[in-house]
């Protein structure tokens, strides 16, 4: 079992994790920008230690309807990763992607909905950008990271977050997450949330010579 206590994480660790989030999300944002051929901005990541009851608010309220892409990570690092964005941002992203790839004109967002095609495209987007995030993390730490295929759900923020919360709940009463917000010049804002388990935190910190 881990000796690392989440309550005792110092500011230094927070800064390291923030930097990891920065590099991972930076890579992912670049991948996203190339994919949709558009400028995408990223905010400075936040590392937060939250009570479960605070969790719902981080994505704009528990009953916000979001597109959530979730995958599990195995290898030297165990944990999960989630990529969430509001429904219309998701459609916007899929629209740009499909227009670019299929050479068809962009549709009007109001007329779009998440059908089989859109969900499949969204999963692929998730695959590419979470892959970019984890690749950066892996090369930085020299740790092996194997992501599972992404799963997608369109649901309440609270319901989506209950999945990683339950995983964390076994170990403690708080959830530690590295959260990065990104946006493009039109309408796209979402979050990356990386949630390694406690043992993995030790490995990450050790790989960087911090423990």
């Amino acid at each position: 079992m881990s000796d690392l206590n989440m309550e005792q994480l110092t500011q230094q660790y927070f800064d390291v994790l923030k930097e990891l989030g920065n590099i991972g999300a930076g890579n992912a944002t670049t991948a996203l920008a190339e994919l949709i051929n558009c400028k995408v901005d990223m905010m400075v990541p936040q590392v937060r230690l939250l009570e479960f009851n605070e969790l719902g608010d981080i994505l704009g309220g528990e009953d916000m309807i979001l597109v959530g892409i979730y995958l599990q990570v195995e290898g030297d690092i165990d944990g999960s990763m989630m990529f969430t964005l509001p429904q219309d941002s998701g459609l916007h992203l899929v629209n740009k992607l499909m227009a670019g790839m299929l050479g068809i004109p962009e549709k009007n967002i109001e007329e779009m909905e998440f059908g089989e095609m859109e969900i499949s495209a969204m999963k692929e987007v998730g695959n590419i950008i979470t892959g970019a995030y984890l690749n950066a993390l892996s090369s930085l730490t020299n740790l092996k990271i194997f992501p599972s295929p992404p799963q997608l759900a369109i649901d309440y923020a609270g319901a989506l977050l209950s999945v990683p919360a339950a995983e964390f709940g076994i170990m403690g009463d708080k959830i530690l997450l590295i959260q990065t917000k990104f946006s493009d010049d039109v309408e796209l804002d979402g979050y990356f949330i990386m949630i390694p388990d406690m043992d993995s935190y030790e490995k990450i910190l050790a790989s960087l010579g911090l423990m």
Partner: protein, 162 residues
């Protein structure tokens, strides 16, 4: 004026009279609604994990089905409810993402939460008179202890009451 009291993740709340209890976006968690129709005392527990005995970090009692339901029922009794008259309705316990990996126990957490809640309620001899559990979507619930109505809203589905 009646209030709607919000119950957060891994918490429980009780109320009386015309007040209502709500929890937003239940995923794999289970919302256990219990009331004693005679005294009008009702409670809603937002259970996150099935069993406090499965982990050493079990000081947060509301988080687990076994300890959370026990504590809430005890508090309801203090407020004048009688266990013998209590009835329960449960909702939630969805599997939000379809995984088939090695961590299957964790993936099945919704299903295991539902099983654990049923087991605890059976132990306490509180009958479950309605349920809406499982599937793969989230639920926002409101419980009205005065009438016993338990309304459930899900994305892209009509609101229902059990």
């Amino acid at each position: 004026m009646s209030d709607v009291i919000k119950v957060g993740m891994a918490d429980w709340k009780i109320c009386t009279g015309d007040d209502a209890l709500t929890t937003l976006g239940l995923g794999s968690c289970v919302g256990v609604a219990i009331r004693d129709p005679q005294s009008g005392v009702g409670g809603l527990a937002h259970v996150m994990l099935p069993d406090s005995k499965e982990t050493e970090n079990n000081s947060n009692r509301p988080k687990f089905a076994d300890t959370g339901i026990t504590d809430m029922v005890a508090e309801m009794v203090k407020k004048g409810a009688s266990i013998a008259k209590m009835v329960a309705k449960i909702a939630g316990g969805a599997q939000m993402f379809a995984f088939s990996s090695a961590k299957s126990d964790m993936v099945r957490v919704g299903e295991r939460n539902v099983e654990a809640c049923k087991k605890k309620l059976k132990e306490l001899k509180i009958p479950i008179i309605a349920e809406d559990t499982g599937e793969n979507y989230g639920r926002t619930v409101v419980f009205y202890p005065a009438s016993g109505n338990y309304t459930i809203k899900s994305v892209g589905k009509p609101e229902k009451s059990i």
